[in-house]
């Protein structure tokens, strides 16, 4: 189980995250929602160990991140929001780099990497450097890199961004199967439809605090648009019609 307790992060005088606590159980896919600047990316960076919390505690399968950050990070697979990878490498080379950094046996990688490239439909481009890759292709490489070491916790930040319909459907099915096998999946996104299709629970963040935590099934019973409406209410979003009117007035010079 992933346990986050009182996670707080300050950047100088700015309080980005304020005492956020949640659990993530094996087999669960949790949707992590929030408007821009709500602290979503900060939480993700804290959970994957790229940032250290100002206060609070994280533990995964009983291993405290503060005690053993290396052992903690070893259990995690991460797909970042931006497809940031070393594009001068080919997809195969990048996966070999990731695999070797994660100390997977060379023999395992020699079979696993080509197989993953084939399954994610990247085999035709395996000898090209990733500079020529589309955003969706890079996203698929990052998904493969995150799965390469068979992690216990998957943290995905907008993983469907840039993926075409087929690749999106494949990833959705894959995530459901991974959860079925007992993996924990934290899924940060702006897309309500994906949360409704994929997640069992949703956490909504607003101004660095948890504004809402609920089972997705509760929204399904309440009818369509319920999650979206609840999100706007929980995050205190303004009425958008006057804002849109103001933008129109600004560009038309009134």
């Amino acid at each position: 189980m992933l346990q986050a307790r009182g996670l707080t992060k300050r950047y100088g005088g700015l309080l980005a995250l304020d005492r956020v606590s949640f659990d993530l159980h094996p087999g669960e896919i949790v949707g992590y929602l929030g408007p821009n600047g709500s602290g979503k990316s900060t939480t993700v960076n804290l959970v994957v160990g790229l940032l250290e919390p100002t206060a609070g505690d994280l533990s995964l399968l009983g291993l405290r991140a503060a005690d053993d950050p290396i052992g903690y990070k070893r259990q995690i697979g991460y797909v970042p929001e931006e497809p940031s990878l070393y594009a001068h490498l080919t997809a195969g080379e990048y996966l070999m780099l990731v695999g070797r950094l994660r100390r997977l046996p060379a023999r395992t990688l020699q079979t696993r990497v080509p197989e993953l490239l084939r399954l994610l439909q990247l085999q035709d481009s395996r000898y090209k450097s990733m500079t020529a890759f589309s955003k969706g292709m890079r996203q698929r490489v990052l998904v493969a890199a995150a799965l390469l070491h068979n992690p216990r916790l998957l943290v995905l930040d907008e993983p469907f961004s840039g993926l075409d319909v087929n690749a999106g459907a494949l990833l959705r099915t894959l995530l459901q199967m991974l959860a079925g096998e007992g993996r924990m999946i934290l899924f940060s996104t702006h897309r309500f439809d994906m949360v409704e299709k994929l997640c069992s629970r949703v956490i909504v963040l607003s101004s660095g605090r948890i504004a809402l935590e609920r089972q997705v099934a509760d929204f399904e019973q309440a009818g369509p648009d319920s999650l979206e409406e609840t999100f706007f209410r929980a995050t205190h979003q303004p009425d958008f019609a006057p804002l849109a009117r103001e933008i129109l007035d600004t560009i038309s010079g009134q």
């Binding site: 994957v48 160990g49 790229l50 290396i70 990070k73 070893r74 995690i76 991460y78 970042p80 931006e82 940031s84 990878l85 070393y86 594009a87 001068h88 490498l89 080919t90 195969g92 080379e93 070999m96 780099l97 990731v98 070797r100 950094l101 994660r102 100390r103 997977l104 060379a106 023999r107 990688l109 020699q110 990497v113 080509p114 000898y127 090209k128 450097s129 500079t131 020529a132 890199a145």
Partner: protein, 562 residues
Amino acid sequence: MTMRDRPEVVLTRHFFTSLFDFGILSDEGAESLKRVLLGALALAIAGGLLLARVFMAKYGLLAGAPPEAYLREVVADHAFLMALPMWIVAGAMSLVGHSLFPDETDFRILMAEPLSRSMVFASKLAALLLFGGLFVVGTHLGLLPLAALTLIGAAKTGSVVLAGVAFAASSLAASLFAALGIVAIHGLLVLLASRSRLLAFSGAVRSVVTGGLLLALPLVTRLPATAGAFETHAWWLAWAPPAWFVGLERWLLGDATRGMLAAQAVTATIGAAAIALFAYVRLYRRFDRVTFQSAGPVRSPRREAPLTPWSRGASVRGAVVRFVSLTIQRSVLHQGVVVGLLAGAGGLVLNSLLSADWRFAGPADDALVWTLLWVPMTVVFLSVPAIRLALSVPMDLRANWIFRMAEDVDGRAEVADASVRAVLALAVALPIALIAPLQWWVMGDGCLAVLLVEAAIGWLLVEFLMADWNRVPFTCSYIPGKGFVPQMCVKAFASYVVFTFATGLMLRASLRHQAVALVLASIFGVTAAAMRLRRARHARQTSLMFEDHVPSDVTPLRLNAD
């Protein structure tokens, strides 16, 4: 709309400032680079003044000499005074070679705006003219006192004003040729290379031009000593561009014997201008064909790259070694840095090799042997920090998260080991291997003992300079010039003198007595091995660094601490 806000002015300003942006430094790094450049400028001005002082003595003596003696010397000195700005201008234009023409980013972004193609091209050209002009004017202003000094004696042979005009026109033409030459080379490249090979060719040309320029620097500094060659109309003058423009200057002042050199200068300048213009016009018509990318230029692998090399050696060390190797092979920027820095060291060596008397009497020829013992140690001394610097230049900072997530204790030591291996291969093994045949030719079998000691010294130097290395190559932000630049220069120069002199003596002793070689190699080898162990221990205890920072200016004394 004010002049400042006009689209063509905004666009020109944008292109001009982007010529100074290499896209690899953080804001803090860019600020630091500015400080380093200002420091370098101050050093250049000081060097220029020193040069003027040196030439002052020479022209003081020439003041009392007959006009023929003045004419004999001034020709060679003017070749030097023209070559220096040519070198600087060509170097600056070469560094921004990737931005000489509107590129794919410009095409995608600017063509979506209501801007005409002619405005984009004209603005790019204007920015280039400003950039080139800045260096042309700057270098000529810097050398003005020296030029004035050399022209005073012209009163003996004719009008000082005419001589000044002829010199200025020829020197400006020479710098113009240097700038246009670089633009023409890149223009031809964009027109002739296929889309798939364009980036590879572009990177290779930039590396070759930068390397060639650095190798040529010692030749530039030797120009003041070529008065004899000008007097005898030596054959090689026809192959030396600065000589063409000195020929032009003399021809303008009425010396018909320099007509051929003058014709070469004019032809070369017009030719370079024509090619550059042709490339611009052609690209203007086929803008959509341009595929230069401004950000992160890399080469695609030339052939199917097998995954087997990733499996060699310890897991993390093997991965980092392969990562370093592929980055240097494919990243145009990093290849340019490595080639450029190594060529700088090579240039220094070339200078000393050219100065050596190659008519040696045999293996015992002392001067030549001394030169060949000094050469590899000089290259190693310059290459080790140079390659260390090249490994510090970041590749794509946003992508370094994978190294941060996969960091482990043993991995830290393996990362340091991989970095040391890269420096050893490029800065020690490669130069020693390149110079070894020459040493064997001159010293015979005795050079084996010398090679052994050279390798041990190289290893020790690498261990010394990499002792606190705790970053994955190309993954940490970089702030240049963190120290006090003048102090660093003095320290570096003093270290260079002590190192090359001391190692030269040791290598000479090793050449004479093999037992000495064995003792020295053992001492250095054991010390390096001990430092290696210490480095590995230190690396395990220190987290990898991904963000460079300026050291604090204030070191607290903590006098009241318990």
